[in-house]
C-alpha cells in the first residue's frame, strides 16, 4: 500500500512544480525574477474555482475532451516506475499500452478541438496530428530498445538487475542515442520549443495552445495538469533510461529522482531559452532525426548482441 500511495502522491503533487521550475530557469536566463515556483498550483486552484463556458455549437465531444485526456494520462502514469519502487501496474506489453494511452489522450483533445468548429482549433489539431504521427514511431523504437534490453516489453524490465548488465554491454553510445531521442520526444510531445512555444498567443503559429483555446475553468485546469503530468512522465522515463537500476535505498533513490527532475527542468529551460522554435516545415525533420537516433541506438544494441 505504501509504495502505491507514494506513487500517487508524486503524480498528483509534483508535475506542476516541474513546470514552475522550468519557468524559473527561463526567467533566470532572461534576467527576470519570474513567477513564484508554486505559481502553476495557484493557476490550477484559480481555474478550478471558476465556472466553465461552453459554446452553443459544441457537443458532448468538446466537454469530454479534457476529462478523457486527463484520465488517459493518469492511467498511463500508473505504468511508469518513478522512485526506485515498481510502478503500481506492470505487465508484459505495458510499454505499448503507455504509448496508446497517450495517443488516446491526444485523440480526445483533437476531437474536442475539431468539435468547436473554429478554424484556428482545426489548424492546431491538424498540426498536432501530423507531428504526433511522426513522434510515435520514435517513441515505439525507444520502447523496442528498452524491451530488448530488459527481455520483456514492460517498464518493469527497466528496473531489472539483469537489465543493468545488458545496458553496460550496450555501453554509453546506445544509452545516449536513446536518451537523445527521448529528450527530443519529451520536447515535441509536450509542445515545448523548438517544436511549439508554450507561451505564444499568436493563433497562426500555435500548435498545442491553439487546440485548447476554447476550454475554460476546470476543463482548462485538467488540460494544464495533464500537460504537466505528461512532461513529468517523459522526464521520469528519461531518468530511468540514463540510470536504469535503482540503488535500493528509498531515501537515496528519492534524492536521485528529485535531483534528476531538477536537472531535467534545467535542461528543458535551457533549451527553451537558447533555441528559437523551428519553422513549421522543419519540425518533421527534427522528428525524423529522433526516429533515426532511436534506430541507430537499436542497431548498436543488436550489433553488441544484447538479447
Amino acid at each position: 500500500m505504501g509504495p502505491l500511495l507514494l506513487h500517487l502522491a508524486l503524480l498528483l503533487l509534483f508535475p506542476p512544480l516541474l513546470v514552475g521550475g522550468i519557468g524559473k530557469v527561463k526567467a533566470a536566463f532572461a534576467g527576470r525574477r519570474g513567477a513564484p515556483l508554486l505559481q502553476p498550483y495557484s493557476d490550477l486552484a484559480r481555474l478550478l474555482r471558476k465556472g466553465a463556458v461552453y459554446s452553443r455549437t459544441t457537443t458532448w465531444v468538446f466537454r469530454a475532451g479534457p476529462t478523457v485526456s486527463l484520465a488517459a494520462t493518469l492511467s498511463a502514469a500508473l505504468l511508469v516506475p518513478l522512485v526506485g519502487a515498481r510502478a503500481p501496474l506492470g505487465f508484459a506489453g505495458d510499454l505499448v499500452l503507455f504509448a496508446y494511452l497517450l495517443a488516446l489522450a491526444r485523440f480526445a483533445l483533437l476531437a474536442a478541438a475539431l468539435d468547436t468548429g473554429s478554424s484556428f482549433e482545426g489548424m492546431g489539431a491538424s498540426r498536432e496530428a501530423a507531428f504526433s504521427s511522426l513522434a510515435e514511431p520514435a517513441l515505439l523504437l525507444v520502447f523496442a530498445a528498452v524491451a530488448r534490453v530488459g527481455g520483456a516489453p514492460s517498464f518493469r524490465s527497466l528496473l531489472d538487475p539483469a537489465a543493468a548488465g545488458a545496458w553496460s554491454i550496450a555501453g554509453p553510445p546506445a544509452v545516449f542515442l536513446l536518451a537523445g531521442c527521448l529528450f527530443v520526444l519529451a520536447l515535441a510531445e509536450n509542445a515545448r520549443i523548438p517544436v511549439d512555444d508554450p507561451s505564444t498567443h499568436l493563433e497562426l503559429t500555435m500548435i498545442h495552445e491553439a487546440m485548447v483555446l476554447d476550454h475554460s475553468g476546470p476543463d482548462l485546469a485538467f488540460l494544464l495538469y495533464a500537460g504537466a503530468l505528461k512532461l513529468f512522465l517523459f522526464g521520469a522515463i528519461l531518468g530511468r533510461v540514463l540510470l536504469p537500476s535503482p540503488l535500493g535505498n528509498p531515501v537515496l533513490d528519492g534524492a536521485l529522482f528529485g535531483g534528476w527532475m531538477l536537472l531535467f527542468a534545467g535542461l528543458v529551460g535551457t533549451v527553451e531559452s537558447t533555441l528559437a522554435r523551428l519553422r513549421l516545415d522543419r519540425v518533421p525533420h527534427l522528428l525524423v532525426s529522433a526516429c533515426v537516433l532511436a534506430s541507430c541506438g537499436l542497431a548498436v544494441l543488436v550489433a553488441r548482441g544484447v538479447r
Binding site: 555501453g171 554509453p172 553510445p173 545516449f176 542515442l177 518533421p284 525533420h285 525524423v288 532525426s289 526516429c291 533515426v292 534506430s295 541507430c296 542497431a299 548498436v300 543488436v302 550489433a303 553488441r304
Partner: protein, 215 residues
Amino acid sequence: MRSLLDALLVLAVLFDFLLLGIGDLGASIRISAMQAATLAALPLLAREDGSLGHPILLFLGVLAVKVVLIPRLLFRAIRDASIRREMEPLIGYGLSLVLGGGLVLVSFALAARLPFPGPPPSDLLVPAAFSTVLIGLLLLVGRAKALAQVIGWLVVENGIFLFGLAFVHRTPMLVEMGILLDVFAAVFVMGIMLHHIHREFDRLDTRNLTALRDR
C-alpha cells in the same frame, strides 16, 4: 578509453546526419570540418602499442589539412563565386534523413558479415566507417550544387579515414600523409573547377554540365 572511442564514433555519425538535414552551405562546411576534427582525435585513442609519435603526427596533419586549410578554401570559393548559401537538394531533407537511417542499418548488417583482419579497436568502427562512406555518397548524388558535392566527397574521405584507423599501426606514415596531400590537391582542383563552372554558367548547378549545346 574504449567508451570515449565509441562516443567519438557515434558523434561522427551524428555529424553525417546533421549534414543530411542542414541546408546552409557555410554550416555544412563547418560541420564537415568538425567531423574531421573528431576523427583526427581517434588515432590517439585507437593505438595499440605505446608509440605516440605516429598518431600525433597524423593528428596534426589531419587537423592542418582537413580542419584548417580545406574549409578556408571552400569558404573562399563561396565568397569568390558569390554563391547563394543554400543547398538546393535533389533529394529532400526529410527523405535524406530517412535514407541515411536506412544506410546506417545497412552498414551494421554489412559490418556483421565482413571478415576483418584482426579485431578492430571498437566494434562500432566498421559500421561507422561504412555509414560515413555511404552517407557521403548519398550527399554526392542528392545535392545539385558543386560545392555541396565537394562536401559529400569530403565526408566519403572521412569514412575512408575511419577504415584506415583499424590499421593505424600497420600503415606506414608516408602513405597517410600522401593521402592527406591527395585530398588537399583534389579539393584545390575542385576549387578551380568551381570557378570555371561559375564563369560559364553564373551558377554552380552541376545539372548545367549535362547539356551539350552552347548557351
